[in-house]
Symmetry: C2
Subunit: 349 residues, 2 copies
DNA sequence: CTACCGAGTGGAACCGGTTCCACTTTTGTA
DNA sequence: TACAAAAGTGGAACCGGTTCCACTCGGTAG
């Protein structure tokens, strides 16, 4: 366990001063004679010298690192997001420190403190919704913050990247309406989140333009964590006036909801037409394959990182940006006309 | 964008020297009068002071950070592993820098260099198999390395955490044999990896003790990346002498393999009994639900981190450790007796 | 022939912590 | 009461980079 060479070792071995070595390391920081540059590079190579990141960060005041704060990586949505962020960051020479919040504002606060200690250049986060003052502090201290997937409305001056939630929900609802469904269940994220509200909004809009009334009993907003999805499915279908179509618009609860449907032996689309938000690899392995809103996770990651890096390098104009990307609707065989269409219609009227 | 207070600001505001503040920050580094400690803590709280990690790392020579190097987070196995590692690390006040290799030794090498620059205290990795000298260098420089899921046999003095691959493969094979299968296909990882070899070993052992011969055509080792799984499935089933049972023991290729089975319309378990390695949440959502080897990912994460942290704190005896954890076999309805059992038996003899 | 300019260089301060050491003040014990 | 050991404190060096600045050379313009 020998120890690594420092810049002074290199300088000594090359017979130059540390200033010269530093200038070789950072090409635009001053002139170096071509001969000496060569010489220094040779020594660096010989000694296997690598600059210590900590020293650099200390003097620079900030790190070439971004924090990624998400709920948990066990959720495929976040896992894929993290995958793309890490990958994209790498190609820019930036490292990613990953932290998870489990949707708990306390854990989130802790993460933010830690990120601050590390002097990260930026943070990409799916905020829990709390910690408004902490986020503000971070921003005021010069850390570039980008919210992805969700936003905190009270918080100004923060970039946001998300999908067109309202529009996506609307398209899913329209699809079911077009098939003849009149009672459509919606399982969505908490109404306290921007995502939840937008999706409910899109759902409502679709119903309105089809002149269908919105039955509040059919809309269930369940928390992002826990077994809320499955329970909501159970209670929706237990109702005597059960829906014939269902949109699961709480990404985190898709798995739990589908599991319950399978357990209950609900025939899809015979008993129930189903559309899920977020197209995971397995959604086409179920029988039948599920119609889905496919979130362009790669795009979300790309834009988020682009914003953070852009701000870190100061090459973006001031003023927060909001980027909304389109999500595809992928029709598969989990949707069909409601079975009781004819009878129920005549019976109701 | 004001700037954060430093230890000297705190010292000045509290009317003490920086040494005292530092001792308050690191309780076991020297005595402080209770009154002054109180006073310093108050000032810290008032100013919202937080020590800069970079400065600390610079003088300590190493960081309270571990690197996690995996293939990619889009793979649920690694995503879950990362989730647990991040979670567990957090509770120890350690941050995790995640890097992905895409199974490419060059990218892996790049990651290791970066990790070295960051003076990480340890690395948890699923090695690609290359870069033996780089790993050695890392180890010699005092970075604690733990391999998880796979090992590099040429590399001594490195801790390894994995499941009992041989035993697991054997149990899966035994299960199919007990049902009456005699031709059992095996799709596994590259034979150049420790994981691949062990699983083939277990498979072979099971066949031998049942006095069945091993047909090399039934064993397909496919790379961890790409579409090898699906293709192997296709070619296995295209054979006139197709297997009646299949074990997909290449975790990374399970999804691709199952997708192909579904696409081909193979009836499970009617035409083919199937067992997959790694029990993802969706394996019970397919129809029928798939029998699986459930890797205790949490245990893998826990042990890996335990080892890394233990070594970082120097509270582990020298000498590499190998930890193998048991994997559960979860029988579901994707396995049954081979349909042609009676006829094929009489016909063959 | 001098004045001036720019390239090239090295010294030293600085970033914000930790730690060693010398020094003063308590304490405890003979 | 005397004197050693322990507790408490501050100064300053150090970790390994970056950067400012002063300085020495050439070469060129006046």
């Amino acid at each position: 366990m020998k120890k690594a060479p420092t810049i002074r070792d290199v300088a000594a071995a090359a017979g130059v001063s540390v200033s010269v070595v530093s200038r070789v390391l950072n090409p635009d920081s001053g002139p170096v004679a071509p001969a000496k540059r060569e010489q220094v590079l040779n020594v660096i190579d010989e000694l296997g010298y690598r600059p210590r990141a900590a020293a650099r960060e200390l003097s620079a005041g900030h790190a070439l690192t971004v924090g990624l704060v998400v709920t948990d990586l066990a959720n495929p949505f976040f896992a894929q997001l993290a995958d793309r962020v890490v990958w994209e960051a790498r190609s820019h020479g930036v490292q990613v420190v990953v932290m998870t919040t489990q949707e708990d504002p306390h854990l989130e606060a802790e993460s933010l403190d830690t990120l601050l200690d590390r002097s990260v250049g930026g943070v990409i986060a799916t905020p829990t919704g709390g910690n408004v003052e902490k986020w503000e502090r971070l921003r005021d201290l010069g850390v570039n913050v980008v919210f992805v997937d969700r936003a905190i409305p009270d918080l100004s001056d923060v970039d946001v990247v998300s999908i067109e939630n309202s529009d996506s929900a609307r398209r899913a609802t329209d699809h079911l309406i077009a098939l003849g469904h009149e009672r459509i269940g919606l399982i969505t994220g908490p109404a306290s989140t921007s995502t939840g509200r937008s999706r409910i909004g899109g759902y409502r809009a679709a119903l309105e333009s089809a002149s269908l009334s919105l039955d509040p009993m059919l809309v269930r907003d369940v928390p992002f964590r826990g077994d809320g999805g499955g329970d909501a499915v159970g209670s929706l279908l237990a109702s005597p006036d059960a829906p014939t179509g269902l949109i699961v618009a709480n990404t985190a609860q898709v798995q739990s909801s589908v599991r319950r449907l399978v357990q209950m032996g609900v025939r899809i689309p015979g008993d129930l037409s189903v559309i899920v938000f977020d197209d995971n690899p397995w959604t086409e392995l179920t029988s039948p394959p599920l119609s889905a809103i496919r979130q362009p996770i790669g795009m979300l990651a790309l834009h988020s990182l682009e914003l953070v890096l852009g701000r870190m390098q100061g090459r973006l104009p001031a003023g927060a940006r909001t980027i909304e990307v389109m999500a595809d609707f992928v029709p598969r065989s989990s949707c069909a006309a409601p079975a009781r269409l004819a009878t129920s219609k005549s019976a109701t009227r």
